[in-house]
């Protein structure tokens, strides 16, 4: 009934699997070369044809494009159909009764070993059966009129390994789908001492209200002796209806989980001094001379340079050049207003120039870019104050807030994939058969074994058993 269905035939083809896997491999390259999720202006540099291609094929977010998800869907159907098809054929091999043993399948093999023995059949069974039993504990002795068969097998279930791997892939894809439909990924910037329940969803500008509030009690940074950052720590309190329900310090790699919501330490920044104590300071304008701080990721050193709009400055340590392109009175990040900012271009010594936005109120903002150098603008002040000691600086913490109900499925998929790969690569279904034929006063003994994988190690095992048989 399945053979008449052309769609079924299309999907049981392993050619399709190979084509799909290679298509996924090749198309995935696009998204690693073409920057993803930039604003439309960014892609104008790719020319009119490029722009149309990018728009039609969703190349600006290709891993979520209809055609890429379509390839994944095809792969999923292909896996399911192939597995069902194969299980129909080999299912009886896995679950069928062991009784339909066909000794001729073993005797007829080219690598079967034979010997003649004068002892009577019962004596032979007595001496050979323990040898087989040593490797194949469940072995059985089957007697027919003039033939005795000692048959052992193991690892029959290892034929399931492939299906375990395929099931794991399905779990991963389904888990991913569940996460994208019922989960979210968002961001919160929270000054010390403040409370919020609003999460900004990545990439959409939408916001979401949690049914509890997050308060940042304190943010702190500790450093190694050489100045490199050792730890970012946010002390958080979760509140429900104004009453604290949970208090925890989070650091990178040690998030807070509460009612299915995960809160991660993601970034931080210093609140600009005028926000703290002198809010009356005049806003800087386009003609101002700015103090730029360059923080080198490699050495942990900070350098200060002065620059005006349109003047390029060299960054120490050979980290490239930086040009302030414009002063913007109002900017936003994922829909959240950032206030005035400088827009600039960072040109590293090697590699492509990068567009950089430096909000004047959030000097730590550029660290989120994770580049080799983080740039901060220190606005001009009437009298340059001495650097504030750390404990007097007020910070804001950047928290990643996520919910993903698909994670359980994905983790189950991970576990099954490792188990399945191991089983299908390293375990095999092994069968061994000793056939004792009565032949005019002598007994002809044939030993042979079959394995569905790792045939070489099966041959070694047969040699061992045969060696022991001839010794007896």
């Amino acid at each position: 009934m399945k053979t008449v269905n052309p769609l079924w035939n299309f999907f049981i083809s392993i050619k399709l699997t190979v084509v799909l896997l290679l298509s996924l491999a090749m198309t995935s390259i696009i998204g690693t070369v073409l920057p993803q999720n930039k604003n439309p202006q960014f892609y104008e540099g790719y020319g009119p044809i490029g722009v149309r291609l990018i728009e039609h094929l969703n190349l600006f977010d290709m891993y979520h494009a209809w055609w890429f998800q379509g390839l994944l869907l095809l792969l999923m159907i292909n896996i399911v159909v192939c597995s069902i098809n194969r299980l129909q054929k080999t299912g009886s091999l896995i679950w069928g009764p062991a009784s339909d043993i066909r000794p001729d399948r073993f005797v007829g093999r080219k690598d079967a070993r034979t010997l003649d023995d004068a002892r009577d059949t019962e004596a032979l069974i007595k001496s050979y059966e323990p040898l087989v039993r040593r490797w194949f504990p469940g072995c059985q002795v089957l007697r027919t009129e003039n033939q005795v068969v000692i048959y052992g097998e193991k690892g029959r279930w290892s034929r399931l390994g492939v299906y375990i791997v395929h099931l794991s892939v399905i779990l991963l894809l389904v888990g991913g789908l569940v996460g994208s439909f019922f989960g979210f990924e968002g961001f919160v910037t929270l000054p010390e001492g403040e409370t919020t329940d609003t999460v900004h969803i990545h990439g959409t500008g939408q916001t979401l209200s949690l049914d509890f509030q997050i308060r940042c009690d304190r943010f702190s940074i500790s450093r190694y002796e050489n100045g490199m950052v050792k730890e970012y720590r946010s002390s958080l309190t979760l509140l429900e209806n104004g009453a604290p329900v949970l208090q925890k310090d989070i650091i990178v790699n040690d998030p807070l989980r509460y009612r299915g919501i995960n809160i991660f330490q993601s970034s931080y920044g210093k609140l600009a001094p005028q926000q703290q104590d002198s809010p009356a300071l005049p806003e800087p304008g386009p003609d101002t001379e700015y103090h730029l701080h360059f923080l080198s990721k490699e050495s942990g050193m900070t350098y200060t340079r002065h620059a005006k709009v349109g003047v390029e400055v060299d960054i120490p340590e050979g980290l490239g050049k930086f040009l302030i392109v414009s002063y913007e009175p109002q900017t936003d990040f994922h829909g959240r207003p950032l206030g005035p900012a400088l827009k600039g271009i960072l040109t590293p010594m090697e590699g492509e120039p990068v567009d950089v936005v430096l909000p004047i109120r959030f000097p730590g903002f550029d660290r989120m870019r994770s580049g080799d150098v983080a740039i901060a603008v220190i606005p001009p002040r009437p009298s340059p104050p001495a650097a504030l000691p750390d404990e007097e600086t007020r910070y804001y913490t950047g928290l990643q807030v996520t919910r993903d109900p698909g994670v359980g499925l994905v983790y189950a998929g991970f576990a099954l994939m490792i188990i399945g790969c191991f089983v299908s690569f390293y375990l095999s279904h092994q069968q061994v058969c000793v056939v004792i034929d009565d032949q005019q006063g002598r007994r002809r003994v044939t030993l042979s074994g079959i394995a569905n994988r790792n045939k070489i190690s099966m041959q070694h095992r047969i040699e061992k058993i045969f060696g022991a048989m001839t010794k007896v």
Binding site: I14, S28, G176, G205, V252, F333, H334, G351, M368, V407
Partner: protein, 282 residues
């Protein structure tokens, strides 16, 4: 004690790896199989020196008060890659008793060590861990990934041998004659790919779990992640083509070479891509 430090030991082991590779290659070119005898022991020596160097580096980091496993930057990962490739190769030679494979496998370990030691862009200073790397997953992730990479590297060497040998499979003398039979090479390549695939899978998975515990997403299509998946797709293709369509020989050898190119790109090439961390709408 002060004169013997891990940098010195690892520099020495670079040269020991080089010497072993040189002997293996000479054995092949000058048809002197006897040269592989000392080469084997020198290779074992190189692996042991590297082991000592890595352990000493680990100890030194604790003495500096910033103790962590030496798996935290490019230098340390290259050294670990060379070590893993060396260990796997010694195991293969011990099991399959075919020393000529060394001429194709040991240079890979040597090149990794030499690149780590000599490249001016790679710092061998022991540095403290940045907050993002402070996790128990660091060791599991790096070790599984590099076991995979190293196995694929050896599979690549074997595939090269296969292609060279297959130009004249009947020839029994000369350089070609010393290369193992095609069937042996094909089988060995397959075994290496299986091993590599298992560990690449484990590496991607440990990475995903780590990402989920550090950033809240197990997969974000970042270039490194994507390239490791591309590599996974290529080797998955190889396994399916071989098991289900009975592909063997040259086609598999070429797929294994393409797969290793993807491994190299995952490891080094990703750094050459334009900066992809974006602000979104700025």
């Amino acid at each position: 004690m002060s004169s013997l430090n891990s940098s010195l030991l690892l520099s020495v082991s670079t040269f020991v790896f080089g010497l072993a590779a040189l002997l293996y290659i000479s054995a092949l070119i000058f048809k002197k199989i006897s040269l592989t005898q000392p080469a084997r022991w020198i290779m074992v020596g190189a692996v042991l020196t590297t082991t000592a160097g890595v352990i000493l580096r680990w100890v030194e980091s604790y003495e500096m008060g910033i103790g962590h496993a030496p798996l935290s930057n490019l230098y340390e990962s290259l050294v670990f890659f060379a070590w893993t490739a060396g260990v796997i190769y010694v195991g293969v030679e011990y099991k399959y008793k075919n020393p000529i494979i060394g001429a194709f496998a040991t240079p890979i370990a040597f090149l990794a060590m030499a690149y780590a030691s000599l490249s001016p862009n790679i710092s061998d200073r022991i540095q403290p861990l940045v907050p993002a790397l402070k996790s128990n997953w660091l060791i599991a992730h790096v070790v599984t990934c590099f076991l995979g990479y190293a196995a694929f590297a050896i599979a690549f060497g074997l595939s090269l041998m296969f292609l060279i040998r297959s130009t004249n499979p009947e020839k029994q003398d000369g350089i070609l004659g010393h290369i193992p039979e095609l069937d042996t090479l094909d089988e060995l390549t397959h075994r290496m790919v299986l091993f590599g695939f298992l560990f690449l899978t484990a590496g991607i998975i440990t990475g995903a779990i780590w990402a989920n515990s550090a950033w809240g997403t197990y997969w974000s299509w970042d270039p490194k992640e994507t390239w490791s998946l591309i590599t996974w797709f290529i080797y998955a293709t190889l396994l399916h083509a071989r098991l289900m369509r009975g592909w063997q020989g040259k086609k598999i050898a070429w797929l294994s070479i393409v797969g290793f190119a993807a491994v190299l790109f995952t490891y080094f090439g990703v750094n050459l891509l334009p900066g992809l961390h974006s602000y979104g709408k700025a």
